[in-house]
């Protein structure tokens, strides 16, 4: 783990109750990995399950945490990113409250303020969701 739950807010612009990553496990220029414990009180948990919306936001914030870590290391301020598009989303299962999910995001290309990523989420060893995402960084 390189950034703990106590410090994750230093990397991302989102604030409670809309924080959908706990820890940044590893990160480099290309990829980032996070974990999230699904809590019953999470605003995107419905009937004890982390929703599809929650899974997608978790991928977006895993990208944000990775980008935040790299910009922080270079001494730059944290920027806000917005999801511009999502493609080829597949959801195989929804995690339940009490589960821990691990998420991997890889940056495919970055052209000025537009970043294309692929993300996938695992729970109990299985891939439960994946998608491609276009993120727009507001400078």
């Amino acid at each position: 783990m390189i950034i703990s739950e106590e410090n994750i807010l230093s990397l991302i612009p989102q604030r409670p109750p809309f924080v959908m990553v706990d820890q940044l496990v590893s990160c480099d220029e290309i990829s980032s990995n996070t974990t999230l414990l699904i809590k019953e009180e999470n605003v995107l948990v419905f009937n004890g399950e982390f929703s599809e919306a929650g899974l997608i936001e978790n991928i977006a914030q895993t990208a944000a945490a990775g980008l935040g870590y790299m910009t922080q290391r270079s001494g730059q301020p944290i920027l806000t990113g917005y999801i511009a598009a999502i493609k080829n989303l597949e959801v195989f299962a929804l995690p339940e409250a009490g589960d821990v999910i691990t998420t991997n995001v890889s940056i495919e290309t970055q052209i000025f303020e537009v970043i294309l990523i692929t993300g996938s989420i695992r729970c109990k060893g299985e891939v439960i969701a994946k998608c491609e995402m276009k993120i727009f960084i507001k400078k």
Partner: protein
């Protein structure tokens, strides 16, 4: 559910396989405190959740989203108590699959486009 806490919608109007409704957002919802503190913006994923909940209200069945080929977030939505936005949802049933083609509009401006496949549960 986000319905009745994050957003409310008017009675669903169906014509053929298309359902229309007007949506009002609740600016006091806690999500807006975190997304983002300086400027409340509707999270893109909440637009998707609104499509799902309106679909479920119409077909009177709980669903799971299994695939979405194409989602486009075309404009920021700033929550405003005094404003209604519109949803148009086209539903096609194909065996077990519920194919949804939806968009959110501010009158004639398209804010969000969604194409996805749900299954009942």
């Amino acid at each position: 559910m986000l319905q009745n806490t994050f957003f409310t919608f008017t009675d669903l109007l169906a014509a053929g396989n298309t359902v229309k409704t007007d949506i009002k957002l609740n600016t006091a919802h806690p999500i807006f405190k975190g997304h983002f503190p300086e400027q409340a913006v509707v999270p893109g994923v909440c637009m998707l959740q609104m499509v799902k909940e309106i679909l479920e209200a119409y077909i009177k069945k709980e669903t799971r989203l299994i695939k979405a080929g194409d989602l486009k977030f075309l404009s920021f939505i700033y929550p405003d108590e005094n404003k209604l936005i519109q949803m148009e949802l086209k539903i096609t049933m194909e065996d077990e699959r519920i194919i949804a083609d939806a968009r959110l509009l501010d009158n004639t401006t398209i804010l969000f486009k969604f194409k996805g496949i749900f299954v009942g549960r």
